[in-house]
Amino acid sequence: MNTAAFSMFLVIVAFTLMITYWASKKNKSASDFYTAGGGLTGWQNGMAIAGDYMSAASFLGIAGTIALAGFDGFFYSIGFLVAYLVVLFLVAEPLRNLGKYTFADMIAVRFNAKKIRGFAAFNTITISIFYMIAQLVGAGALIKLLLGIDFTTSVIIVGVLMTVYVIFGGMHATSWVQIIKAVLLMAGTFVISIIVLYKFNFSITAMYDQMKTATPLKDAFLNPGVKYKNGLDTLSLTMGLVLGTAGLPHILVRFFTVRDAKTARSSVVYATWIIGIFYVMTIFLGFGAAAFVGNSDIIAADKAGNMAAPLLAQALGGNMLFAFISAVAFATILAVVAGLVLTAASAFSHDFYNHILKKGKATEKQQVSMARYASIGISVLSIVLALFARNLNVAFLVSLAFAVAASANLPVILYTIYWKKFNTNGAIWAMVVGLVTSIGLVIVGPNVFSPVAGKAMFIGEPLYPYTTPGIISIPLGFIAGYVGTLVTRKSANQDDQVSYDEILVRSNTGMDTTM
């Protein structure tokens, strides 16, 4: 047991619970619970987006991948950042103008059919749970390693905390936990980066020179192609990364926490700066770990390299910095899982319960208490799944969530906003085909089947050769929406959707926004 790390974990827990207590008094209505009353400023929401987005996979995973595979790890950093141009240019403002609490709201503005809302809510919950499993597995491994508490107990501790934040604090608490985590993560990463740079005499060229000999890969460390040798595999990964963000439900709901499209826009701009600076610093984390911790020690601690950043902190600043960085990683996980629980619970309570079951007539009180029950249900389900998934690679689960989001959500979002002919049938085809093909390709892919025993869940030849499904499933999602629309063009389908002119006016001007 590391006492310093343990006490810092306790400080994080105490502090976040205080925020939750404070937030619990602000939670009065369903709107408070789902979207913090839509009252966040651009700066606050920008920080919260960053805190929601920079997950354990980014902090621990990318640092580890760069440390072990060099340039190829940086593909993640680039994709995760450039994705914000898709969000900013194409999605954030129309989404804010059309929607209210959930991503399904936005689709439902155009299409009245209950099944559309149902599919959109189902996709939201599925993607959020996948993402959550990844974070929980990461959390379990981290706490186990740092505090010596066993995996199951660790996952349950994190699971209980995230449920408490959401149930009592709703979106107010979730947002502030994310904001504080963003500050901590940026501060921790900055400190490490400065020390790494200091070790290289603040010379970037010296750093690159030294990296040529610092790892067993030698020269190859600085060149692409160490981890991703197949061109289509690389393209599939990078496509999923750049298109996934704009379809991730827990990121999309953040745009409902501000009052209008203008604030949504400025929050993306703030988030892009913060996230970009963070991802530049992943180079220092990765290079630093490779140079000052060393390949064999990183692998000895965790085969996937997930412990590279905390180990680097230990090598540079001793036990105190190690404890601090570990606590930051812990806070990172807590903030992200809280956002995910809230997103999935909102989809259940607002979309399934209120709109489908109660036909939009549930009272405020009923909605909030259903959201609380849903939070508990979602948390329990994720915890159980995470316990089964304990041996799966964390980065793989996250890239899966991105690919599913890009395949199942992005086509329907873009068509709803920008395509006049799009209809109910097309929307359903896009969501179903995107979800089924992306998950299906993963199941028959190399992460689940491998001829080498122990490399994947089952032994066998994978039917689909690439590690991520994006290159097939994303185009299929778009094609399905297109074909589904065309085959029903002249049917009675037009009755259950509003005119595209209404969508055009509302998405572009914010006229008649539901607050």
Binding site: G39, G231, G510
Partner: protein
């Protein structure tokens, strides 16, 4: 803090489809759409091309492995330029969007005037 009366259902005054169509046909709205398209389409095409250029070039060619300065290769330069592009496009859009806001305010004002 702010406990404004909360409305749980869609309560906006429902406009008729004809009203929306009329707004769409108005000169200011058409200008707004045109200006937005003129910015967003080329910039979006450019950033996608620039983004995918990196994995395509690193996967199918090796010339990015040539040194740019010291041990820093062109692949890293292109990678950093992705960051520069993202930040730059972000700020350009932010500037540009204030113009969109003005146009959309005009559309809204026109609407209110007629009611």
């Amino acid at each position: 803090m702010e406990s404004k009366p909360q409305i749980s259902k869609h309560t906006q005054t429902k406009r008729t489809p004809e009203e929306y169509s009329k707004i769409v046909k108005s000169a200011h709205f058409q200008q707004l759409l045109r200006e937005k398209k003129r910015f967003i389409i080329p910039f979006t095409i450019f950033f996608f091309c620039f983004y995918f250029a990196l994995p395509i070039l690193t996967s199918y060619t090796t010339f990015l492995n040539k040194p740019f300065y010291g041990s820093i290769t062109w692949a890293w330069v292109l990678a950093f330029l992705q960051f520069v592009m993202t930040w730059a496009f972000c700020m350009i859009y932010y500037k540009k969007a204030s113009k969109f806001d003005k146009l959309s305010e005009q559309v809204l004002a026109e609407k209110e005037g007629k009611l």
